[in-house]
């Protein structure tokens, strides 16, 4: 298994650079890498014990592959496969596939890293390749948004590095466990870097604009896999070191509610999805122990939603309400939206119930609110008018690649519901249906009156960077007063 892990880690980078030599095989090679990851993820599930690897020496690279990693690796692999299939006949340049494969590899690397420096390298690589993918259309807007992303993520990683060296100073080691017993500023700096990178709470407000402007397949990749690369280490910390779990959970709850609030007032379809991603990343953090399954449920549904929205003739929800869309596009949109809202029979139900069952009583009120809010956000898509009339105006038929990708993702959404059959108890089904009904009623009632505009000023670059210093102070206080006590 050790050899396979190393081969699997190196494969994306090896293939990525080989594509330069074999530009005609770009799609096939990329697909091969993604399928290899699917296989590796499944094999990892079958391992009875988690795999711990230590290379070189006590100061070398440490890896840890367990069940949690397997869920995230599988999510990343399926989303990448879908994105490659989606782009199959879009004549994308080979550079796109090279970056996609490298991104896939670096996101996978973050899921099995177990020391601070390997994680740093993997996260920086994620940042660079994501920037290149966002900026690939070479328009000024995409370039600016990509540049902004790279800027913010690099500054966050500088803070992270400061934290890492303080951990080293205290323990002579970069292992994750070193966060315990290090001076309070070290965990504060590291957590701040990861919160920003993962798109959590106000530090994550770079996320809506970035996902809105990025091309649909890139946005699907970002929401489905890339942003989870920043969240995953936070989950590891929460599971490994109990004293940080409450801090991470509080940020999770705050993010879940913030994302829903932003999503409710957004009018651009892609922005609604991006804000919902923000909220769902919070859901991951609330219950770290069951986050793996939630990540898979979210990744599949969100990627299919982003790919579908990319096929719509219009992105403005107000316009979409007046122009009926093709039923063939409305169906995947509704299926994805229902899964995100936790409809029984789809993968989102099991994930939602597992998360809601494992939160503490004081947290469950906030999370119930967030669940109803999510249903209200997706009601925006579910209640859009649609027509089966193929001759409707302004409707280009979707590409064949879209159908294959959407079938793959939505097939996962339907089949995944079989994973947690024990979640199907009457009280839970009734609870989730109540959230759905409540969310839809709230949406119906508020739709006309809700003209609120949340300030976009917090999403400007200066404020995002300034927000980091505020978050740092808050985190320092939290770590110092809660975890050190």
């Amino acid at each position: 298994m050790t050899t396979w892990t190393v081969v699997w880690m190196a494969l994306p980078f090896f293939v990525g650079f080989s594509v330069y030599l074999l530009p005609h095989g770009d799609r096939l090679l990329a697909l091969g890498v993604a399928l290899a990851s699917v296989a590796y993820g499944i094999i990892l599930f079958l391992q009875p014990v988690s795999l711990e690897l230590q290379f070189l020496d006590s100061f070398g690279v440490t890896l840890l592959a367990d069940n949690l990693s397997a869920w995230f690796i599988l999510t990343n692999a399926l989303v990448t496969t879908a994105v490659i299939v989606y782009c199959w006949d879009q004549s994308k340049p080979d550079f796109f596939y090279i970056q996609l494969v490298m991104l896939h590899g670096s996101v996978n690397a973050t899921f099995i890293c177990a020391d601070l420096i390997s994680l740093y390298v993997a996260l920086e690589l994620v940042g660079i390749t994501t920037f290149l993918l966002i900026a690939l259309p070479r328009q000024d807007q995409t370039l600016w948004v990509g540049l902004r992303y790279l800027f913010i993520s690099n500054v966050a990683m500088l803070f992270y590095l400061m934290g890492a060296v303080l951990v080293y100073q205290a323990h002579q080691s970069f292992a994750f466990e070193g966060l315990r017993g290090a001076p309070a500023e070290a965990p504060a700096l590291i957590l701040m870097g990861l919160l920003t990178k993962g798109g959590i709470f106000v530090s994550g407000l770079w996320l809506p604009a970035t996902n809105t402007v990025a091309d649909s397949p890139v946005a699907a990749m970002m929401s489905g896999a890339v942003e989870k690369a920043g969240v995953f280490p936070l989950l590891r910390f929460a599971l490994m070191l109990d004293e940080f779990e409450p801090i991470i959970q509080i940020f999770g709850i705050a993010t879940a509610l913030l994302g829903v609030a932003y999503g409710l007032v957004a009018t651009d379809a892609k922005r609604v999805l991006a804000c919902s991603t923000l909220s769902q990343l919070g859901w991951l953090l609330v219950a770290p122990a069951v986050a793996g399954f939630y990540a898979l449920a979210h990744g599949l549904a969100k990627a299919s939603l982003f790919l579908t929205v990319g096929q719509l003739p219009e992105r403005d929800i107000t316009t979409l309400r007046q122009q009926p869309m093709a039923t063939a596009l409305w169906l995947p949109l509704t299926l994805g939206g229902l899964s995100m809202s936790g409809m029984p029979g789809l993968v989102g139900f099991g994930a939602k119930v597992l998360t809601l069952d494992s939160v503490l009583p004081w947290q469950s009120a906030a999370m119930n609110g967030a669940a109803a809010g999510t249903a209200a956000v997706y009601a925006k898509f579910i209640f859009l008018p649609h027509t089966a009339d193929a001759s409707a105006p302004k409707q280009a038929p979707p590409q064949p690649g879209y159908w294959a990708a959407s079938r793959l993702l939505l097939g996962g959404v339907v089949l995944g519901s079989a994973v947690h059959l024990e979640a199907y108890t009457w009280p839970d089904v009734a609870k989730v249906l109540a959230f759905l009904a409540g969310g839809w009623l709230a949406y119906g009632g508020l739709r006309r009156s809700l003209r609120l505009r949340l300030p976009v000023v917090l999403e400007e670059m200066d404020h995002l960077i300034g927000g980091m210093s505020v978050m740092l102070v808050v985190l320092f206080w939290m770590v110092w007063s809660w975890s050190m006590a």
Binding site: E124, D140, L147, L158, L161, V165, Q172, A209, S469
Partner: protein, 111 residues
């Protein structure tokens, strides 16, 4: 004293990132900040001595810690490649936004 200087460098870089209006100045401020972080690694490496850690017949004492130095080398390479990438992006942006004022760019490209 040295610690204070290093933290001052990091802080000054960070303030530059917030207060400078021009995109190129922001990138330079980021460079200042990353220089500060690199210096912090070097300082941590030198906390028990500054001698090069080479095995020899001499009694081992006052050796610098090679691990942070080795690690920061990776970070330096990553940092400068990111800066190069950013400067290329800024060059492209400057064609349509010759002043590179961040406020104007942000207003123009808001989705």
């Amino acid at each position: 004293m040295l610690h204070a200087c290093v933290y001052a460098t990091i802080l000054l870089g960070f303030f530059g990132l917030i207060f400078k209006e021009n995109l190129v100045m922001k990138i330079i401020a980021m460079d200042v900040m990353s220089t500060g972080v690199i210096a912090l690694f070097v300082l941590v490496a030198a906390r028990e001595g500054i001698r090069t850690p080479i095995v020899s017949v001499m009694t081992p004492r006052n050796f610098a810690d090679p691990v942070p130095q080795a690690v920061i080398l990776t970070a330096i390479v990553i940092g400068f490649s990111i800066q190069a990438l950013m400067l290329v992006g800024v060059m492209k942006l400057a064609r349509d936004n010759p002043t590179l004022e961040i406020r104007e760019i942000e207003k123009g490209y808001r989705p």
